[in-house]
Protein backbone atom coordinates (compact mmCIF):
# COMPACT_ATOMS: atom_id res chain seq x y z
CA UNK A 1 0.00 0.00 0.00
CA UNK A 2 1.38 3.38 -0.93
CA UNK A 3 2.62 5.32 2.07
CA UNK A 4 0.91 8.54 1.02
CA UNK A 5 -2.49 6.87 1.39
CA UNK A 6 -1.48 6.02 4.94
CA UNK A 7 -0.84 9.75 5.47
CA UNK A 8 -4.49 10.27 4.63
CA UNK A 9 -6.02 7.24 6.29
CA UNK A 10 -4.08 7.25 9.54
CA UNK A 11 -4.96 4.76 12.25
CA UNK A 12 -6.48 7.48 14.39
CA UNK A 13 -8.79 8.50 11.55
CA UNK A 14 -9.86 4.92 10.87
CA UNK A 15 -10.45 4.38 14.57
CA UNK A 16 -12.78 7.36 14.80
CA UNK A 17 -14.55 6.27 11.63
CA UNK A 18 -15.24 2.84 13.06
CA UNK A 19 -16.09 4.04 16.54
CA UNK A 20 -17.26 7.62 16.21
CA UNK A 21 -17.32 9.44 19.55
CA UNK A 22 -20.34 11.47 20.63
CA UNK A 23 -22.38 9.82 17.88
CA UNK A 24 -25.73 10.45 19.49
CA UNK A 25 -28.64 12.81 19.87
CA UNK A 26 -28.71 15.12 22.90
CA UNK A 27 -31.75 15.02 25.16
CA UNK A 28 -32.41 18.72 25.05
CA UNK A 29 -30.08 20.51 22.63
CA UNK A 30 -30.33 24.28 22.35
CA UNK A 31 -28.55 24.46 18.98
CA UNK A 32 -29.18 22.12 16.05
CA UNK A 33 -27.55 22.52 12.65
CA UNK A 34 -27.56 20.33 9.56
CA UNK A 35 -24.60 20.39 7.24
CA UNK A 36 -24.60 18.99 3.70
CA UNK A 37 -22.11 18.70 0.92
CA UNK A 38 -24.38 18.85 -2.14
CA UNK A 39 -21.60 17.68 -4.43
CA UNK A 40 -21.39 14.28 -2.79
CA UNK A 41 -24.48 14.03 -0.60
CA UNK A 42 -22.61 13.77 2.71
CA UNK A 43 -24.75 15.08 5.52
CA UNK A 44 -24.62 15.39 9.26
CA UNK A 45 -26.69 16.85 12.04
CA UNK A 46 -24.93 18.55 14.90
CA UNK A 47 -26.61 19.00 18.27
CA UNK A 48 -25.20 21.25 20.96
CA UNK A 49 -25.88 22.56 24.38
CA UNK A 50 -24.27 25.95 24.67
CA UNK A 51 -24.53 27.57 28.07
CA UNK A 52 -22.81 30.69 29.34
CA UNK A 53 -20.63 30.81 26.25
CA UNK A 54 -19.39 27.26 26.72
CA UNK A 55 -20.09 24.16 24.61
CA UNK A 56 -21.38 21.98 27.46
CA UNK A 57 -22.33 19.04 25.28
CA UNK A 58 -22.23 18.08 21.62
CA UNK A 59 -23.33 15.11 19.54
CA UNK A 60 -23.63 14.31 15.86
CA UNK A 61 -25.28 11.86 13.49
CA UNK A 62 -25.11 11.50 9.75
CA UNK A 63 -23.68 9.68 6.78
CA UNK A 64 -20.37 10.30 5.13
CA UNK A 65 -16.96 8.99 4.26
CA UNK A 66 -14.20 8.05 6.68
CA UNK A 67 -12.73 11.54 6.50
CA UNK A 68 -15.95 13.39 7.22
CA UNK A 69 -17.12 11.02 9.94
CA UNK A 70 -13.79 10.90 11.79
CA UNK A 71 -13.41 14.66 11.45
CA UNK A 72 -16.82 15.16 13.06
CA UNK A 73 -16.00 12.66 15.79
CA UNK A 74 -12.64 14.22 16.66
CA UNK A 75 -14.12 17.69 16.50
CA UNK A 76 -16.74 16.84 19.11
CA UNK A 77 -14.04 15.42 21.38
CA UNK A 78 -11.88 18.48 20.94
CA UNK A 79 -14.44 21.19 21.61
CA UNK A 80 -16.70 19.58 24.21
CA UNK A 81 -16.46 21.70 27.33
CA UNK A 82 -14.60 24.50 25.57
CA UNK A 83 -15.65 28.15 25.37
CA UNK A 84 -17.32 29.16 22.10
CA UNK A 85 -14.52 31.63 21.36
CA UNK A 86 -11.92 28.88 21.66
CA UNK A 87 -13.94 26.51 19.46
CA UNK A 88 -14.09 29.18 16.76
CA UNK A 89 -10.38 29.80 17.09
CA UNK A 90 -9.67 26.08 16.59
CA UNK A 91 -11.98 26.14 13.58
CA UNK A 92 -9.81 28.90 12.09
CA UNK A 93 -6.59 26.97 12.65
CA UNK A 94 -8.09 23.72 11.31
CA UNK A 95 -9.42 25.44 8.21
CA UNK A 96 -6.10 27.17 7.63
CA UNK A 97 -4.23 23.87 7.90
CA UNK A 98 -6.43 22.27 5.23
CA UNK A 99 -6.66 25.13 2.79
CA UNK A 100 -3.57 27.31 3.20
CA UNK A 101 -0.58 25.29 4.26
CA UNK A 102 1.32 23.45 6.94
CA UNK A 103 0.36 24.46 10.48
CA UNK A 104 2.69 26.65 12.50
CA UNK A 105 3.98 25.39 15.82
CA UNK A 106 1.29 27.39 17.60
CA UNK A 107 -1.34 25.88 15.30
CA UNK A 108 -0.09 22.37 15.93
CA UNK A 109 -0.17 22.89 19.63
CA UNK A 110 -3.70 24.26 19.54
CA UNK A 111 -4.92 21.57 17.15
CA UNK A 112 -3.40 18.65 19.03
CA UNK A 113 -4.68 15.35 17.62
CA UNK A 114 -6.58 17.23 14.92
CA UNK A 115 -3.25 17.76 13.12
CA UNK A 116 -3.75 14.17 11.91
CA UNK A 117 -5.90 15.70 9.15
CA UNK A 118 -2.97 17.65 7.68
CA UNK A 119 -2.59 14.91 5.05
CA UNK A 120 -6.00 15.77 3.60
CA UNK A 121 -4.50 18.94 2.12
CA UNK A 122 -2.82 16.77 -0.52
CA UNK A 123 -6.24 15.54 -1.64
CA UNK A 124 -8.07 18.69 -2.79
CA UNK A 125 -11.23 16.73 -3.63
CA UNK A 126 -11.45 15.63 0.01
CA UNK A 127 -10.87 18.90 1.86
CA UNK A 128 -14.60 19.57 2.12
CA UNK A 129 -15.11 16.12 3.64
CA UNK A 130 -12.84 17.15 6.52
CA UNK A 131 -14.31 20.63 6.94
CA UNK A 132 -18.04 19.77 6.69
CA UNK A 133 -18.46 19.17 10.43
CA UNK A 134 -16.48 22.29 11.28
CA UNK A 135 -18.46 24.50 8.90
CA UNK A 136 -21.60 23.12 10.50
CA UNK A 137 -20.23 23.83 13.97
CA UNK A 138 -19.33 27.39 13.03
CA UNK A 139 -22.82 27.98 11.66
CA UNK A 140 -24.35 26.49 14.82
CA UNK A 141 -22.24 28.63 17.14
CA UNK A 142 -22.93 31.78 15.16
CA UNK A 143 -26.63 31.07 14.74
CA UNK A 144 -29.12 32.86 16.92
CA UNK A 145 -32.15 31.06 15.52
CA UNK A 146 -34.30 29.81 18.39
CA UNK A 147 -35.28 26.15 18.51
CA UNK A 148 -37.22 24.35 17.14
CA UNK A 149 -35.78 26.01 14.01
CA UNK A 150 -33.07 23.79 12.61
CA UNK A 151 -30.42 25.61 10.63
CA UNK A 152 -28.86 24.37 7.43
CA UNK A 153 -25.41 24.96 6.09
CA UNK A 154 -23.85 23.85 2.84
CA UNK A 155 -20.26 23.51 1.68
CA UNK A 156 -21.21 25.08 -1.65
Amino acid sequence: MSSDLRDLYQELILDHQKRPRNYRKLEAPNRVMRGVNPLCGDSLELQLNVEDGVVKDIGFEGSGCAISKSSASMMTERIKGKPVAEALEIFGRFHHMLTEGAPSEADEEALGKLAVFAGVREYPARVKCATLAWQTLKAALESDAPLPDVGNVSTE
Partner: protein, 404 residues
Amino acid sequence: MNLQKLRSDFPGLHQDVHGKTLVYLDNAATMQKPRAVLDAMEKYFVEDCANVHRGVHLLSERATKSFEAVRGKIAKFIGSKDANEVVFTKGVTDAINLVAHSFGRKHLEKGQEIIISGMEHHSNIVPWQILAEEKGLTLKVVPVTDRGELDLEAYAKMIGPKTGLVSMVWVSNALGTVNPVKQIVDLAKAHDVPVMFDGAQALPHVPIDVEAIGCDFFAGSGHKCYGPTGAGFLWGKKKRLESMPPYQGGGDMIVSVTFEKSTYREPPARFEAGTPNIAGIIGLGAAIDYLGSIDLAAARAHEDDVTRYCAEQLSQTAGIKLVGTPTQRAGAVSFVMDDIHPHDIGTILDREGVAIRTGHHCAQPLMARMHVPATARASFGIYNTREEVDVLVGGLKKVRELMG
Protein backbone atom coordinates in the same frame (compact mmCIF):
# COMPACT_ATOMS: atom_id res chain seq x y z
CA MET B 1 -11.87 -6.03 -33.63
CA ASN B 2 -8.33 -4.77 -33.05
CA LEU B 3 -8.57 -3.36 -29.54
CA GLN B 4 -4.97 -2.14 -29.38
CA LYS B 5 -5.44 -0.16 -32.55
CA LEU B 6 -8.71 1.27 -31.26
CA ARG B 7 -7.06 2.26 -27.97
CA SER B 8 -4.24 3.94 -29.86
CA ASP B 9 -6.84 6.31 -31.35
CA PHE B 10 -7.40 7.80 -27.87
CA PRO B 11 -4.32 9.73 -26.68
CA GLY B 12 -5.77 10.40 -23.21
CA LEU B 13 -5.77 6.72 -22.32
CA HIS B 14 -2.00 6.37 -22.49
CA GLN B 15 -0.70 8.05 -19.38
CA ASP B 16 0.33 7.29 -15.84
CA VAL B 17 -1.43 8.73 -12.80
CA HIS B 18 0.22 8.60 -9.37
CA GLY B 19 2.88 6.41 -11.00
CA LYS B 20 0.36 3.78 -12.16
CA THR B 21 -1.06 3.09 -15.61
CA LEU B 22 -4.33 4.98 -16.01
CA VAL B 23 -7.45 2.81 -15.94
CA TYR B 24 -10.20 5.17 -17.00
CA LEU B 25 -13.58 3.89 -15.81
CA ASP B 26 -15.45 7.18 -15.49
CA ASN B 27 -16.87 7.24 -18.99
CA ALA B 28 -20.41 8.05 -17.92
CA ALA B 29 -19.08 11.35 -16.56
CA THR B 30 -17.19 12.12 -19.74
CA MET B 31 -15.42 10.05 -22.34
CA GLN B 32 -11.89 10.23 -23.66
CA LYS B 33 -11.67 11.77 -27.12
CA PRO B 34 -10.21 10.16 -30.22
CA ARG B 35 -7.42 12.01 -32.01
CA ALA B 36 -9.81 12.62 -34.94
CA VAL B 37 -11.98 14.84 -32.74
CA LEU B 38 -9.04 16.90 -31.54
CA ASP B 39 -7.74 17.23 -35.12
CA ALA B 40 -11.10 18.42 -36.43
CA MET B 41 -11.34 21.05 -33.70
CA GLU B 42 -7.79 22.20 -34.29
CA LYS B 43 -8.43 22.41 -38.02
CA TYR B 44 -11.35 24.73 -37.37
CA PHE B 45 -9.31 26.95 -35.06
CA VAL B 46 -6.24 27.00 -37.30
CA GLU B 47 -7.67 27.01 -40.83
CA ASP B 48 -11.35 27.96 -40.68
CA CYS B 49 -11.60 30.23 -37.65
CA ALA B 50 -14.56 32.43 -38.46
CA ASN B 51 -18.10 32.92 -37.32
CA VAL B 52 -20.81 30.88 -38.98
CA HIS B 53 -23.90 31.92 -40.99
CA ARG B 54 -22.91 35.52 -41.57
CA GLY B 55 -19.58 35.96 -43.29
CA VAL B 56 -19.19 36.46 -47.02
CA HIS B 57 -15.58 35.42 -46.84
CA LEU B 58 -14.04 32.03 -47.48
CA LEU B 59 -13.17 31.16 -43.89
CA SER B 60 -16.74 31.76 -42.77
CA GLU B 61 -18.06 29.71 -45.68
CA ARG B 62 -15.81 26.81 -44.76
CA ALA B 63 -16.68 27.05 -41.06
CA THR B 64 -20.40 27.22 -41.84
CA LYS B 65 -20.16 24.21 -44.14
CA SER B 66 -18.35 22.06 -41.55
CA PHE B 67 -20.67 23.23 -38.80
CA GLU B 68 -23.95 22.69 -40.67
CA ALA B 69 -22.84 19.29 -41.94
CA VAL B 70 -22.98 18.03 -38.35
CA ARG B 71 -26.79 18.25 -38.28
CA GLY B 72 -27.02 15.61 -40.96
CA LYS B 73 -24.45 13.43 -39.25
CA ILE B 74 -26.38 13.51 -35.97
CA ALA B 75 -29.71 12.94 -37.73
CA LYS B 76 -28.34 9.88 -39.51
CA PHE B 77 -26.72 8.54 -36.34
CA ILE B 78 -30.04 8.58 -34.44
CA GLY B 79 -32.33 7.47 -37.26
CA SER B 80 -33.85 10.78 -38.40
CA LYS B 81 -34.16 11.62 -42.09
CA ASP B 82 -34.31 15.37 -41.56
CA ALA B 83 -31.19 17.33 -40.57
CA ASN B 84 -33.38 20.30 -39.68
CA GLU B 85 -34.88 18.31 -36.83
CA VAL B 86 -31.53 18.66 -35.04
CA VAL B 87 -31.11 21.72 -32.80
CA PHE B 88 -27.62 22.35 -31.45
CA THR B 89 -27.46 22.84 -27.69
CA LYS B 90 -24.81 22.83 -24.99
CA GLY B 91 -25.81 19.29 -24.07
CA VAL B 92 -28.68 17.28 -22.64
CA THR B 93 -29.39 19.64 -19.74
CA ASP B 94 -29.69 22.54 -22.13
CA ALA B 95 -31.92 20.48 -24.45
CA ILE B 96 -34.31 19.48 -21.66
CA ASN B 97 -34.51 23.09 -20.48
CA LEU B 98 -35.27 24.10 -24.05
CA VAL B 99 -38.21 21.70 -24.22
CA ALA B 100 -39.43 22.70 -20.75
CA HIS B 101 -39.28 26.43 -21.50
CA SER B 102 -40.51 26.35 -25.06
CA PHE B 103 -42.75 23.30 -25.51
CA GLY B 104 -43.80 23.24 -21.86
CA ARG B 105 -44.77 26.89 -21.58
CA LYS B 106 -46.67 26.83 -24.85
CA HIS B 107 -48.45 23.50 -24.73
CA LEU B 108 -48.83 22.39 -21.12
CA GLU B 109 -51.70 23.75 -19.08
CA LYS B 110 -52.60 24.04 -15.43
CA GLY B 111 -53.76 20.73 -14.00
CA GLN B 112 -51.83 18.60 -16.47
CA GLU B 113 -49.21 16.07 -15.43
CA ILE B 114 -45.63 15.42 -16.50
CA ILE B 115 -44.42 11.85 -16.04
CA ILE B 116 -40.78 11.17 -15.27
CA SER B 117 -39.19 8.14 -13.61
CA GLY B 118 -37.52 7.47 -10.28
CA MET B 119 -34.15 6.99 -11.98
CA GLU B 120 -33.79 10.42 -13.53
CA HIS B 121 -30.68 12.54 -13.43
CA HIS B 122 -31.35 15.88 -11.74
CA SER B 123 -31.32 17.43 -15.21
CA ASN B 124 -34.55 15.59 -16.04
CA ILE B 125 -36.18 16.50 -12.72
CA VAL B 126 -35.41 20.10 -11.89
CA PRO B 127 -36.44 21.77 -15.21
CA TRP B 128 -39.86 20.10 -14.86
CA GLN B 129 -40.19 21.15 -11.23
CA ILE B 130 -39.50 24.76 -12.20
CA LEU B 131 -42.05 24.51 -15.01
CA ALA B 132 -44.59 22.75 -12.79
CA GLU B 133 -44.37 25.48 -10.18
CA GLU B 134 -44.75 28.19 -12.79
CA LYS B 135 -47.67 26.61 -14.65
CA GLY B 136 -49.51 24.69 -11.94
CA LEU B 137 -48.56 21.26 -13.30
CA THR B 138 -48.03 18.04 -11.34
CA LEU B 139 -44.92 15.92 -11.58
CA LYS B 140 -45.64 12.17 -11.48
CA VAL B 141 -42.80 9.75 -10.84
CA VAL B 142 -42.83 6.16 -12.12
CA PRO B 143 -41.39 3.97 -9.36
CA VAL B 144 -38.21 1.95 -9.71
CA THR B 145 -38.05 -1.73 -8.71
CA ASP B 146 -35.51 -3.28 -6.35
CA ARG B 147 -33.49 -4.39 -9.39
CA GLY B 148 -33.30 -0.80 -10.55
CA GLU B 149 -35.78 -1.18 -13.38
CA LEU B 150 -38.79 0.86 -14.33
CA ASP B 151 -42.12 -0.35 -12.91
CA LEU B 152 -43.93 -0.51 -16.24
CA GLU B 153 -47.24 -1.56 -14.70
CA ALA B 154 -47.23 1.51 -12.50
CA TYR B 155 -46.39 3.64 -15.55
CA ALA B 156 -49.28 2.17 -17.52
CA LYS B 157 -51.64 3.10 -14.70
CA MET B 158 -50.17 6.56 -14.28
CA ILE B 159 -50.55 7.67 -17.86
CA GLY B 160 -53.97 9.02 -18.84
CA PRO B 161 -56.01 11.97 -20.00
CA LYS B 162 -54.24 14.38 -17.66
CA THR B 163 -50.75 13.51 -18.90
CA GLY B 164 -49.20 16.32 -20.92
CA LEU B 165 -45.71 14.94 -21.46
CA VAL B 166 -43.53 11.95 -20.63
CA SER B 167 -39.82 12.65 -20.18
CA MET B 168 -37.57 9.75 -19.25
CA VAL B 169 -34.03 8.58 -19.27
CA TRP B 170 -33.21 5.97 -21.94
CA VAL B 171 -30.19 4.55 -20.10
CA SER B 172 -29.69 5.31 -16.40
CA ASN B 173 -26.40 7.07 -15.72
CA ALA B 174 -26.32 5.83 -12.14
CA LEU B 175 -27.28 2.15 -12.57
CA GLY B 176 -26.78 1.39 -16.25
CA THR B 177 -30.40 0.26 -16.67
CA VAL B 178 -31.64 0.32 -20.28
CA ASN B 179 -35.30 1.28 -20.24
CA PRO B 180 -37.95 -0.32 -22.50
CA VAL B 181 -38.26 2.78 -24.64
CA LYS B 182 -40.53 1.29 -27.27
CA GLN B 183 -43.07 0.26 -24.64
CA ILE B 184 -42.80 3.64 -22.95
CA VAL B 185 -43.63 5.36 -26.23
CA ASP B 186 -46.37 2.93 -27.25
CA LEU B 187 -48.21 3.40 -23.96
CA ALA B 188 -47.91 7.18 -24.31
CA LYS B 189 -49.09 7.17 -27.92
CA ALA B 190 -52.25 5.34 -26.88
CA HIS B 191 -53.07 8.57 -25.03
CA ASP B 192 -51.58 10.86 -27.67
CA VAL B 193 -48.92 12.05 -25.23
CA PRO B 194 -45.56 13.30 -26.52
CA VAL B 195 -42.44 11.56 -25.21
CA MET B 196 -38.97 12.95 -24.61
CA PHE B 197 -35.88 10.85 -23.92
CA ASP B 198 -32.76 11.93 -22.07
CA GLY B 199 -30.29 10.13 -24.30
CA ALA B 200 -27.07 11.15 -22.53
CA GLN B 201 -26.05 7.57 -21.80
CA ALA B 202 -27.97 5.97 -24.65
CA LEU B 203 -26.12 7.82 -27.42
CA PRO B 204 -22.72 6.22 -26.72
CA HIS B 205 -23.92 2.74 -25.78
CA VAL B 206 -26.99 1.60 -27.71
CA PRO B 207 -28.21 1.96 -31.30
CA ILE B 208 -30.74 4.80 -31.57
CA ASP B 209 -33.56 4.96 -34.08
CA VAL B 210 -35.90 7.77 -33.06
CA GLU B 211 -38.27 7.16 -35.96
CA ALA B 212 -38.65 3.46 -35.22
CA ILE B 213 -39.13 4.17 -31.51
CA GLY B 214 -41.60 6.93 -32.30
CA CYS B 215 -40.55 9.45 -29.64
CA ASP B 216 -41.01 13.18 -30.06
CA PHE B 217 -37.79 14.52 -28.55
CA PHE B 218 -34.34 13.04 -27.94
CA ALA B 219 -31.45 14.83 -26.25
CA GLY B 220 -27.75 13.96 -26.54
CA SER B 221 -24.44 15.30 -25.21
CA GLY B 222 -21.30 15.23 -27.34
CA HIS B 223 -18.85 14.74 -24.50
CA LYS B 224 -20.59 11.57 -23.30
CA CYS B 225 -20.09 10.13 -26.78
CA TYR B 226 -16.36 10.70 -27.46
CA GLY B 227 -16.86 14.36 -28.39
CA PRO B 228 -16.06 17.64 -26.63
CA THR B 229 -17.94 19.25 -23.74
CA GLY B 230 -20.42 22.05 -24.32
CA ALA B 231 -21.74 20.62 -27.58
CA GLY B 232 -24.91 18.55 -27.79
CA PHE B 233 -28.28 18.51 -29.43
CA LEU B 234 -32.01 18.27 -29.18
CA TRP B 235 -33.71 16.23 -31.84
CA GLY B 236 -37.41 16.97 -32.18
CA LYS B 237 -40.11 15.92 -34.63
CA LYS B 238 -40.55 18.66 -37.17
CA LYS B 239 -44.18 19.37 -36.31
CA ARG B 240 -43.28 19.64 -32.62
CA LEU B 241 -40.39 22.03 -33.22
CA GLU B 242 -42.51 24.14 -35.56
CA SER B 243 -45.16 24.52 -32.87
CA MET B 244 -42.68 25.89 -30.34
CA PRO B 245 -41.73 29.52 -29.61
CA PRO B 246 -38.09 30.59 -29.23
CA TYR B 247 -36.17 29.47 -26.14
CA GLN B 248 -33.70 32.35 -26.03
CA GLY B 249 -33.67 35.58 -28.00
CA GLY B 250 -30.68 37.02 -29.79
CA GLY B 251 -28.77 37.02 -33.02
CA ASP B 252 -29.04 34.27 -35.62
CA MET B 253 -32.58 33.25 -34.62
CA ILE B 254 -34.47 36.17 -36.17
CA VAL B 255 -35.85 37.02 -39.59
CA SER B 256 -36.18 40.71 -38.83
CA VAL B 257 -35.94 42.93 -35.79
CA THR B 258 -37.55 46.32 -35.19
CA PHE B 259 -38.14 47.91 -31.81
CA GLU B 260 -41.84 47.18 -32.24
CA LYS B 261 -41.61 43.52 -33.20
CA SER B 262 -39.24 40.77 -34.17
CA THR B 263 -39.99 37.73 -36.28
CA TYR B 264 -38.28 34.39 -35.85
CA ARG B 265 -36.69 31.91 -38.17
CA GLU B 266 -37.90 28.39 -38.71
CA PRO B 267 -36.47 25.56 -36.61
CA PRO B 268 -33.73 24.72 -35.92
CA ALA B 269 -32.33 28.27 -36.23
CA ARG B 270 -35.18 29.61 -34.09
CA PHE B 271 -33.70 27.84 -31.08
CA GLU B 272 -30.07 28.76 -31.67
CA ALA B 273 -29.60 32.34 -30.47
CA GLY B 274 -26.09 33.72 -30.42
CA THR B 275 -22.79 32.43 -31.74
CA PRO B 276 -22.80 28.68 -31.16
CA ASN B 277 -19.99 26.46 -29.89
CA ILE B 278 -18.65 26.06 -33.42
CA ALA B 279 -15.51 24.09 -32.60
CA GLY B 280 -17.46 21.89 -30.19
CA ILE B 281 -20.16 21.03 -32.72
CA ILE B 282 -17.50 20.29 -35.35
CA GLY B 283 -15.80 18.05 -32.77
CA LEU B 284 -19.09 16.28 -32.11
CA GLY B 285 -19.45 15.69 -35.84
CA ALA B 286 -15.94 14.25 -35.92
CA ALA B 287 -16.82 11.92 -33.03
CA ILE B 288 -19.79 10.58 -35.00
CA ASP B 289 -17.60 10.22 -38.10
CA TYR B 290 -15.09 8.32 -35.98
CA LEU B 291 -17.76 5.91 -34.74
CA GLY B 292 -18.78 5.44 -38.38
CA SER B 293 -15.20 4.61 -39.35
CA ILE B 294 -14.88 1.67 -36.96
CA ASP B 295 -16.98 -1.48 -36.65
CA LEU B 296 -19.27 0.11 -34.08
CA ALA B 297 -21.45 -2.96 -33.58
CA ALA B 298 -18.36 -5.05 -32.75
CA ALA B 299 -16.96 -2.30 -30.53
CA ARG B 300 -20.20 -2.08 -28.60
CA ALA B 301 -20.39 -5.87 -28.28
CA HIS B 302 -16.90 -5.75 -26.79
CA GLU B 303 -17.92 -2.94 -24.42
CA ASP B 304 -20.99 -4.93 -23.34
CA ASP B 305 -18.75 -7.91 -22.65
CA VAL B 306 -16.44 -5.81 -20.45
CA THR B 307 -19.42 -4.26 -18.64
CA ARG B 308 -20.95 -7.68 -18.02
CA TYR B 309 -17.59 -9.05 -16.89
CA CYS B 310 -17.30 -6.18 -14.40
CA ALA B 311 -20.77 -6.86 -12.98
CA GLU B 312 -19.92 -10.58 -12.64
CA GLN B 313 -16.53 -9.99 -11.04
CA LEU B 314 -17.86 -7.46 -8.56
CA SER B 315 -20.83 -9.59 -7.60
CA GLN B 316 -18.40 -12.43 -6.82
CA THR B 317 -16.14 -10.25 -4.66
CA ALA B 318 -16.76 -10.59 -0.93
CA GLY B 319 -18.23 -7.49 0.67
CA ILE B 320 -19.36 -5.90 -2.57
CA LYS B 321 -23.01 -5.43 -3.43
CA LEU B 322 -24.22 -4.25 -6.81
CA VAL B 323 -26.72 -1.40 -6.73
CA GLY B 324 -29.08 -2.13 -9.59
CA THR B 325 -29.17 -5.54 -11.25
CA PRO B 326 -31.15 -4.79 -14.41
CA THR B 327 -31.61 -7.44 -17.07
CA GLN B 328 -30.73 -4.87 -19.73
CA ARG B 329 -27.58 -3.01 -18.74
CA ALA B 330 -25.38 -0.62 -20.69
CA GLY B 331 -22.18 1.16 -19.82
CA ALA B 332 -22.21 1.31 -16.03
CA VAL B 333 -22.00 -0.81 -12.90
CA SER B 334 -22.81 0.80 -9.54
CA PHE B 335 -21.78 -0.81 -6.26
CA VAL B 336 -21.23 -0.38 -2.56
CA MET B 337 -18.69 -2.11 -0.34
CA ASP B 338 -19.44 -3.17 3.22
CA ASP B 339 -19.36 -0.10 5.45
CA ILE B 340 -16.74 1.69 3.38
CA HIS B 341 -17.97 4.95 1.97
CA PRO B 342 -17.70 5.32 -1.84
CA HIS B 343 -15.54 8.45 -1.47
CA ASP B 344 -12.88 6.52 0.35
CA ILE B 345 -13.06 3.82 -2.32
CA GLY B 346 -12.64 6.47 -5.01
CA THR B 347 -9.64 8.13 -3.37
CA ILE B 348 -7.82 4.84 -2.80
CA LEU B 349 -8.55 3.56 -6.32
CA ASP B 350 -7.28 6.84 -7.74
CA ARG B 351 -3.90 6.17 -6.16
CA GLU B 352 -3.98 2.78 -7.91
CA GLY B 353 -4.50 4.57 -11.22
CA VAL B 354 -8.20 3.69 -11.45
CA ALA B 355 -10.58 6.56 -12.15
CA ILE B 356 -14.17 5.93 -11.10
CA ARG B 357 -17.04 8.15 -10.01
CA THR B 358 -18.33 8.13 -6.48
CA GLY B 359 -21.29 9.94 -4.96
CA HIS B 360 -24.95 10.33 -5.84
CA HIS B 361 -24.39 10.70 -9.61
CA CYS B 362 -26.78 13.66 -9.71
CA ALA B 363 -29.59 11.19 -8.95
CA GLN B 364 -30.35 11.75 -5.26
CA PRO B 365 -33.96 10.46 -5.41
CA LEU B 366 -32.70 7.23 -7.00
CA MET B 367 -30.06 6.82 -4.29
CA ALA B 368 -32.80 7.22 -1.67
CA ARG B 369 -34.91 4.60 -3.50
CA MET B 370 -32.00 2.15 -3.58
CA HIS B 371 -31.40 2.82 0.15
CA VAL B 372 -27.83 4.04 -0.27
CA PRO B 373 -26.43 7.55 0.33
CA ALA B 374 -24.01 7.13 -2.54
CA THR B 375 -22.40 4.49 -4.75
CA ALA B 376 -19.14 3.82 -6.51
CA ARG B 377 -19.62 3.51 -10.25
CA ALA B 378 -17.42 1.99 -12.91
CA SER B 379 -18.49 3.05 -16.39
CA PHE B 380 -17.20 1.96 -19.73
CA GLY B 381 -16.36 2.96 -23.25
CA ILE B 382 -15.51 0.94 -26.33
CA TYR B 383 -11.80 1.11 -25.44
CA ASN B 384 -11.95 -0.51 -22.00
CA THR B 385 -10.71 -4.04 -21.40
CA ARG B 386 -11.33 -7.01 -19.14
CA GLU B 387 -7.78 -6.51 -17.81
CA GLU B 388 -8.79 -3.06 -16.62
CA VAL B 389 -11.70 -4.60 -14.73
CA ASP B 390 -9.15 -6.94 -13.08
CA VAL B 391 -7.12 -3.89 -11.99
CA LEU B 392 -10.30 -2.40 -10.52
CA VAL B 393 -11.08 -5.59 -8.60
CA GLY B 394 -7.46 -5.75 -7.36
CA GLY B 395 -7.71 -2.12 -6.26
CA LEU B 396 -10.86 -2.90 -4.29
CA LYS B 397 -8.96 -5.58 -2.38
CA LYS B 398 -6.45 -2.88 -1.44
CA VAL B 399 -9.31 -0.67 -0.29
CA ARG B 400 -10.40 -3.48 2.00
CA GLU B 401 -6.85 -3.93 3.36
CA LEU B 402 -6.37 -0.25 4.03
CA MET B 403 -9.75 0.46 5.57
CA GLY B 404 -9.66 -2.69 7.69
